[in-house]
């Protein structure tokens, strides 16, 4: 570069400098990419993913220097299975459903997480004493409680509103389209509850062929009116547009539409299916195993969990984190009454049996998709 320029004019020097810029820039960018380690974290998109980013992705990057790349998915194990099978793992951490977590762990496609090795509780409790019973599987702990409920938009339902899960299936009283998740999960439970099966017998009934037929028969009764959704962000949109009269949804998504977008939505808690999200699973065969482990440990801190609850109405699975849940970050609303676990919302709540689902997930998926196209 110090060689004397053979054409010492300003005109000739200019393209030279531009050239240096052009060649230097990609090099600098490549060097930057090498310096900053990054992991790919796959979550459920929309307002939930945003809550996680604000609550702990940013703090994690600030503390460790490891960048978090976020991708969306809509649940299921297909992509994880395909990546592990092909030996081309580019997802490092996946936010699984509890039932899928158990299934994936049995198949050996995720790294087991020893819950006892996770960060202690706020007051130094041993992790295993801090997680609520039922929220820990042998493959890792769940991250939060969420609920599948149904909701409606008061702009389109005037007069006497629906109040029970039976109303969701009642096309005579409430004619109009229904939104439901394109998955058997929670839908089979809704159908049986609406068909009069007591809460404590739902899974016993589902365990029999006759019970399954009963659930699908109940779904049959509204099938022609159902618009199926896949991403959690869809139901609030469909409700806002009036495309459906009521829709099942994740409670946090409806909450966010209520408080942030001022949508006149109402959640019907009757017959809610309370479930646990998580574990945050590390995909087997990732080349960034240590960074992924660091991330999972960070996400399981009581503070990380509690901060998620400041952005979306899902409640933490650790006892000591519960104390930190208070007000909504942006609007200052008290979060407690919006949580699926709040006593007034739990009057008729079914605790999803993720062990039953991990045993039957594949069969139910197949049966459901065959039923869907008939």
């Amino acid at each position: 570069m110090n060689k004397p320029n053979p054409v010492p004019s300003k005109v000739a020097a200019r393209p030279n400098r531009a050239l240096r810029w052009l060649t230097g820039l990609p090099l600098a960018m490549a060097a930057g990419a090498l310096a900053a380690e990054s992991i790919t974290v796959v979550s459920w998109g929309g307002s939930y993913a945003r809550a996680c980013v604000e609550a702990y992705h940013k703090a994690f990057t600030a503390e460790t220097g490891i960048e978090v790349l976020l991708e969306d998915y809509n649940g299921g194990l297909a992509q994880v299975r395909a990546q592990v099978d092909a030996g081309a793992v580019h997802w490092d951490v996946v936010d699984l459903e509890m039932a899928d977590g158990k299934l994936a762990c049995d198949e050996g496609i995720i790294e087991p997480i020893d819950s006892a090795q996770l960060p202690p509780g706020l007051n130094g409790e041993a992790p295993m004493d801090d997680y609520m019973p039922g929220a820990v599987s042998e493959c890792g702990p769940g991250a939060l409680f969420y609920s599948t409920i149904y909701a409606y938009n008061t702009r389109y339902i005037q007069g006497s509103p629906p109040t029970t899960i039976e109303d969701f299936f009642d096309l005579e009283k409430f004619p109009g389209r229904r939104g439901m998740r394109r998955s058997p999960l929670a839908n089979l439970e809704f159908a049986l509850m609406a068909d009069g099966v007591p809460l404590d017998q739902v899974y016993a009934v589902l365990d029999t062929e006759a019970g399954l037929e009963r659930a699908f028969r109940k779904l049959d009764s509204i099938k022609d009116q159902v618009v199926w959704w896949e991403a959690g962000a869809q139901p609030p949109q469909m409700l806002a547009d009036g495309e459906v009269l009521m829709s099942t949804a994740y409670n946090g998504r409806i909450f966010n539409a209520q408080v942030l977008e001022r949508q006149p939505f109402v959640i019907v808690w009757d017959g809610q299916v309370l479930d646990i999200d998580g574990p945050l699973a590390i995909v087997s065969g990732t080349s960034r195993l240590e960074a992924a482990r660091q991330f999972v440990r960070f996400a399981n801190r009581p503070t990380s969990m509690a901060y998620v609850s400041k952005y979306i109405s899902y409640s933490p699975t650790r006892e000591s984190a519960k104390a930190l849940v208070d007000k909504h970050w942006e609007t200052g609303i008290d979060m407690a009454p919006h949580m699926p676990t709040a006593p007034e919302n739990m009057k008729r709540a079914l605790q999803s049996d993720w062990r039953w689902w991990s045993d039957h997930r594949d069969e139910m998926n197949e049966r459901f998709s065959a039923w869907l196209i008939r």
Partner: protein, 397 residues
């Protein structure tokens, strides 16, 4: 034939293209289609178990050697992360086997040896004492299989070895294939009905106007498929533009807004719009080459406009109709994003099932079998077309 000089150069120049087609089209297509009948995974991962099952005819329990080999090969597969490849196919033959295999693989190492591997495995999971379990593994172990084709055609192998139709409620693929063909045919006819006058107008307008009209056909053609599909959702939905307009004009009451989307109406509307340019462009190019004097000559010989159109103009546009129709029909058969977004339940076409089996159920064998059947259907139609109209007469513009 001698290859020298310019001719050799010309052939050499096409080699990169041939290599590209071979690598990017023939090879992947062939690999995928071969999966419809060739499934070596189970045979490769559980070779000794399958060897021990060889000769066992499903009567009573298999020999101890089969239990012992399985107890060794399953945990090994789990460690090498190949268990998924076994669990999927076996599970498809016997529901619930994924769970049995994966749990057994996990627990067999920790399990206490109960004197024989038979007792040990049955102790872990009682499914191992059912001959059906082993028959499923044996069947999945066959490297060559026709079961994906049977399933794709809604057939099944009867216990006595014969082949018969599946029970009414599990027949899903043939009705779907028919629905796909009918929807594609309907969309093709709609495109023709709408596209023919448009193409005629463009071909016969003065250059300035025809350029503008052509641009109006091409701009949507260049717009992303998803944008156009979403635009239809905005227009057609219950609270959408068209419904709101109808309500505002007092044509329909607010409580009885039209259901124009998430049903067949939505599928036909959006697909016809998306595929229309593929009909208009070939028609336009053919019509432009028909001299306007032909119609004038027909009129001077005493034909009325209808006769002139039917006997002079229409026959000359047949190559364009054929080309456009074939293009639209073949594209329509493979469409699945648009119908899935706007068609609701009726928007489920055969390609949706192929995508489902590729992406979600990971049953690539069945997906490949369905694709092959679709391919055969398209080739069949193509042959019929070339018989009736002649492929050399097709004009793509």
């Amino acid at each position: 034939m001698q290859l020298r000089g310019p001719r050799a150069t010309a052939v050499a120049l096409t080699l990169p293209l041939l290599a590209f087609i071979g690598l990017s089209f023939v090879a992947p297509l062939g690999t995928l289609l071969s999966k419809s009948a060739y499934e070596p995974n189970v045979a490769n991962i559980l070779p000794r178990t399958l060897a021990a099952l060889d000769g066992w005819d499903g009567d009573g329990l298999p020999p101890e050697a089969a239990f012992a080999s399985l107890a060794e090969e399953l945990p090994k597969a789990r460690q090498e992360r190949t268990l998924v490849r076994v669990a999927g196919p076996v599970n498809r033959l016997k529901s619930g086997m994924r769970r049995v295999l994966t749990r057994t693989a996990r627990q067999v190492e920790k399990a206490e040896y109960a004197g024989s591997w038979r007792e040990t495995l049955i102790g872990i999971n009682p499914a191992w004492q059912e001959p059906d379990t082993w028959l499923a593994i044996q069947a999945a172990g066959a490297r060559f299989t026709l079961r994906h084709y049977l399933q794709a055609l809604d057939l099944e192998r009867r216990p006595d070895g014969g082949i018969g139709l599946r029970s009414e409620e599990s027949r899903i693929y043939m009705p779907l294939l028919w629905r796909t063909l009918l929807v594609s045919l309907g969309v093709t006819l709609l495109c023709l009905a709408i596209g023919y006058p448009i193409a005629h107008l463009i071909a016969t307008s003065p250059p300035k106007r025809s350029n503008l009209l052509l641009l109006m056909v091409l701009v949507p053609f260049w717009t992303s498929l998803l944008v156009r599909t979403t635009a239809w959702i905005v227009l057609l939905q219950r609270q959408g533009v068209i419904n709101s307009l109808l309500v505002a004009l007092g044509i329909t009451p607010d409580s009885e807004r039209l259901e124009m989307i998430y049903n067949m109406t939505g599928t036909f509307t959006a697909m016809t719009h998306v595929l229309l340019p593929f009909m208009v462009l070939p028609l336009y190019s053919v019509m432009r080459s028909i001299p306007p004097t032909h119609m004038a000559a027909a009129a001077s010989l005493g034909a009325n406009p209808v006769q002139g159109f039917m006997r002079v103009y229409l026959p000359q546009t047949l190559p364009g109709i054929g080309a456009g129709g074939l293009l639209v029909f073949i594209l329509a058969i493979g469409y699945y994003i648009t119908p899935a977004l706007v068609g609701g339940r009726s928007g489920q076409l055969i390609s949706n099932m192929i995508a489902y089996h590729v992406q979600t159920s990971l049953n690539w064998g069945l997906a490949a079998a369905l694709s092959s059947i679709l391919l055969v259907a398209v080739i069949g139609l193509y042959l019929i077309y070339s018989r009736l109209i002649g492929i050399d007469r097709m004009r793509l513009g």
